[in-house]
């Protein structure tokens, strides 16, 4: 007896082929995602004693993403930490103004693929500025001191 889910083999193969088409052609892994993910995890100075936490970009991220190409403000957060980042073009490079909430004199590092990294320390109000930052696939790290040391890292964003 046939059950309701039985399809003829030919029909089943047809729909499986449609699914293959959908997976491979209509919704492929984005070009460069593998490389961006490899860059994101290629973090130097990972200390086994320091907790590593992945931050999330807030939803307005596409503002400065690949698609708009326009600078603006983006936010990332993890746990109780929120970091607002304002990006301004300065010629070929850019200036990054940031604000950590809650404030703390934490280390901030900006890694740009193929361009090394730039680091600074936030002031007691949680503000930090990085100038002459190259453009490209970018990751931000916050090295938090005080209490249990932890490093917050973001997924990459194309700035």
């Amino acid at each position: 007896m046939k059950t309701e889910y039985d399809m003829e083999p030919a029909e089943r193969d047809y729909w499986l082929a449609q699914l293959t088409h959908l997976v491979d052609d209509l919704d492929p892994v984005p070009v460069g995602l593998v490389e961006r993910a490899q860059f994101a995890i290629a973090i130097e100075d990972i200390d086994a004693e320091v907790e590593l936490e992945a931050a999330r970009w807030a939803d307005q991220r596409p503002l400065v993403g690949v698609r708009s190409g326009a600078p603006g403000t983006i936010t990332f957060f993890v746990g109780d930490l929120t970091v607002m980042v304002n990006v301004t073009r300065t010629g070929e490079k850019q200036r990054i103004d940031g604000w950590l909430v809650p404030a703390g004199e934490h280390g901030v590092e900006v890694r740009v693929a193929d361009h090394g990294s730039t680091a600074t320390t936030a002031d007691e109000g949680g503000r930090f500025v990085l100038t002459e930052v190259p453009r490209g696939t970018t990751q931000i790290l916050v090295r938090m001191n005080g209490g249990k040391p932890r490093t917050v890292v973001t997924p990459t964003v194309v700035l």
Binding site: T3, E4, Y5, D6, M7, E11, R12, W15, L16, Q18, L19, T20, H21, L22, V23, D24, D25, L26, D27, V29, P30, L33, V34, R36, A37, Q38, A40, I41, A42, I43, I46, A48, E51, L52, E53, A54, R56, W57, A58, D59, Q60, R61, P62, L63, G65, R67, S68, G72, T73, T75, F77, M84, V153, P155, T156
Partner: protein, 205 residues
């Protein structure tokens, strides 16, 4: 197992060379723990499609799914010394991707407090990038039908495609998908896809 007989080979080949499936994943994980640069890159290159399709299967847009993929790999970096069973990596990735994707979806729009100047500039619903590839009428119908399936079906059918490939046989094992058999659950999802394909999306096309 996978005994290498020539010492010459031992010196030059990475430890996962010639291994497949969970053996290969375990060898990469162990090499990564020992500080072998490139071991995690191998896993990222080979298993990103799996993580991607799990994230997309939950209904996230492509941009959010990209973040989920990267967050999952960052989580692996964090857990590389703690994952008790390196052979179970595929299961761990699927679970972690689902959890992270659902967290992203639940957060949704507006949950994050926006600065007024940011909110002001916030884009309205961005066209899905996949619209660019949906030029063909049949592709549009297929995509529209697929997106109306329950999330569980969408993930299952995406993984069915991957699991049918030699390099993802481990996914089939992990998900209990015997080779050459579709089984009742996937059969029902496939039926639903066919039935939805014949009906129009409410939004029209």
């Amino acid at each position: 197992m996978g005994a290498v007989t020539e010492l010459r080979t031992v010196k030059t080949d990475p430890p996962w060379e010639g291994l497949e499936g969970s053996d290969r994943h375990a060898a990469c994980m162990i090499a990564a723990r020992e500080g072998h640069k490139g071991a995690l890159d191998v896993l990222v290159a080979e298993l990103t499609p799996l993580v991607w399709h799990v994230a997309r299967g939950t209904g996230l847009d492509r941009s959010a799914a990209e973040d989920v993929v990267q967050t999952v790999w960052l989580a692996l970096l964090r857990h590389v010394d703690r994952l008790a069973e390196p052979r179970a990596l595929v299961g761990w990735l699927i679970t972690t991707a689902r959890r992270e994707a659902n967290r992203t979806r639940q957060r949704g729009n507006g949950q994050v407090e926006l600065l007024p100047e940011v909110a002001e500039h916030q884009l309205s619903t961005e066209p899905m990038p996949e619209a660019e590839v949906l030029r063909d009428e049949r592709d549009r119908k297929l995509w529209s039908a697929f997106r109306r399936l329950p999330a569980r079906c969408q993930e299952l059918l995406r993984l069915t495609v991957l699991a049918g490939r030699a390099e993802y046989r481990i996914v089939a094992e992990r998900m209990g998908m015997p080779h050459g058999s579709i089984g009742p659950t996937r059969g029902r999802c496939l039926n639903s896809l066919r039935d939805l394909y014949g009906t129009r999306d409410q939004d029209g096309d």
